[in-house]
């Protein structure tokens, strides 16, 4: 398979820019600036790209900045897709890049609709969830165009386990994704401080469910426990059985470190009554946990084999 390092690096760059975009998008919500530019796709009647910098005041700085960075990521995705269709040999990778392009277009439309319809929670939540999906798609593109994947990852013989590592990693990724959806629902339904104490919840281990917001918030905390369990389990499994394989061990360790940071940021978010930067960092770290978990899953599927006949690499 022909190597195209430049294409891989470009996909990687797009993924990094998407992470920045997620952080800036999180800032828009944290600073409650989502409606500070009331029109879309124009900005106060100006073309988005000619809106004077002197007018980037107050909440406009975050909202307009988010629109411009989003446009840049959209542009990168267009270039990536065209490049894929010109140079990439694998048909399914070309279509995956097309899916990324579709996602980024839909994401822009959802961003516009959320402004026009004055931040309805379900559109804003969908916008947040699609951001994570797009991020995962671009990470996958970067992974599938990487020299390591194209050359063929070193194969590892599967250990006798009740749940194969690939399945465990996929379940962990699914759990993280569902947790991010819950987080988005909580954030956009204004339930972030429905339970204002931590580690207790309204003074109890299980709070009185006095409102939907309390239920949503508590569901996110329960989700955090499940995600923590899954990530620790995955890390423990890899450390026990695959610690010699750095391609698996490194992302598993990174995921564990990010998880620790994420739990701390979640607690700080509550303790500081949703202070802007910890809250936004919590959103970004969530995306990074998801991205790392996805990477680990893809590597697990690419490396771990069950049948001895398939095993040709390092044990």
């Amino acid at each position: 398979m022909r190597q195209n390092i430049a294409l891989h690096r470009f996909a990687l760059f797009t993924a990094c820019c998407t992470a920045v975009l997620i952080f800036v998008g999180g800032l828009v919500t944290s600073t409650e600036s989502g409606l500070s530019v009331p029109d879309w796709p124009t900005s106060y009647g100006w073309n988005m790209f000619t809106f004077p910098y002197s007018n980037w005041v107050g909440g406009i700085f975050y909202e307009h900045g988010h629109r411009l960075i989003a446009s840049f990521v959209g542009f990168l995705t267009v270039v990536l897709t065209v490049w894929m269709w010109l140079k990439e040999e694998r048909r399914w990778v070309r279509w995956l890049s097309t899916a990324a392009l579709g996602a980024v277009i839909l994401q822009g439309v959802l961003g516009g609709l959320t402004v026009i319809f004055l931040l309805p929670a379900w559109i804003s939540t969908l916008h947040a969830c699609l951001a994570q999906t797009f991020f995962c798609t671009v990470i996958s593109l970067a992974f599938f165009t990487s020299p390591g994947w194209k050359r063929g990852l070193p194969l590892v013989k599967s250990h006798a386990e009740s749940i194969p590592l690939q399945t465990l990693c996929a379940l962990t990724t699914a759990a993280v994704y569902l947790q991010l959806i819950l987080g988005a629902v909580m954030r956009h339904s204004d339930a972030g401080l429905a339970i204002p104490d931590f580690p207790l919840a309204l003074g109890h281990i299980i709070p009185p469910f006095t409102s939907n917001k309390v239920i949503i918030h508590f569901a996110h905390r329960v989700g955090a426990v499940i995600v923590t369990t899954m990530i620790v389990w995955t890390f423990y499994r890899i450390r026990r059985s695959y610690s010699d394989h750095l391609l698996l061990f490194r992302p598993a360790l990174t995921m564990l470190v990010l998880l620790t940071l994420q739990v701390a940021l979640g607690a700080i978010t509550v303790w500081t009554a949703k202070s802007i930067y910890p809250t936004t960092a919590h959103v970004l770290t969530g995306a990074l946990v998801l991205g790392t978990s996805l990477l680990l899953t893809l590597r697990a599927y690419g490396m771990v084999v069950h049948r001895t006949a398939d095993f040709r690499g390092a044990a």
């Binding site: 530019v37 009331p38 796709p41 107050g58 439309v109 516009g112």
Partner: protein, 266 residues
Amino acid sequence: MYKRTLMICVLLLAASLVAACSKGETDETGLPPAGGGGTASGPTFDMSKATATVSGKISFEGTPPPNEKVQMSSDPYCQQKAADYPTLETVKVSDGGLENVIVFVSSGMPTGVSYATPTTPVEIDQHNCHYVPHVFTLMTNQPVKIKNSDMTLHNIHAWAEKNPQFNVGQPVAGMVNDTKFAKPELPLPIKCDVHKWMGAFVGVFDHPFHTVSKMAGTFELKLPPGKYEVTAWHEKFGQKTMMVEVADSDKKEVNFSFNANDKAAD
């Protein structure tokens, strides 16, 4: 296959742009139309019959809580005015009286009549990065002029629940938008998402018996003879009610009192 997918993407983008550029349920000012009113039907009430005067004072007992400090540095224009407006205007007490309290008749109005809608517009100005006035009342379908006197951008976001919400931008000094509110609503908050500290409260009524307390917390209502429930509403301290009965040309005093422990409902 590729061309078909590309075509779908282009159509999706075009549809979204059309949706985005269309103004939806808005008029040429960018604000939603007033729609159906909430005014009662029947013969128009003759306001010359409102001969009784109910006046009074909204007192504030104890030490008023300090207002939240305002940080205006996010906009250099507003920052120039920061020294004049160090805090929010939530609690404004003068001579022991609480200002910016909406006082209105909440029950007992004459039935089977309608009230003429004033044609004089109520004006709210964005001046020195503050809303002037901070609290005001008006009747359903009474014209409202929203003005920007500042050399900076503002957006006017009406967080209405019973009336249509709207959010429009005024990027240029001197811009004026006209709107109306068709249904009674209290409180109807207005805020600027660009400048977080900017907030105003509107009381929309389907009758003319409402006012806002002024200096020293004083107010005055002109009422026809009858027995009324009068309510005083404050953005932070909630509301209180009192009963009053007036005859023709009566002058009665109704006094309300708030303190720091009073709280508005969530």
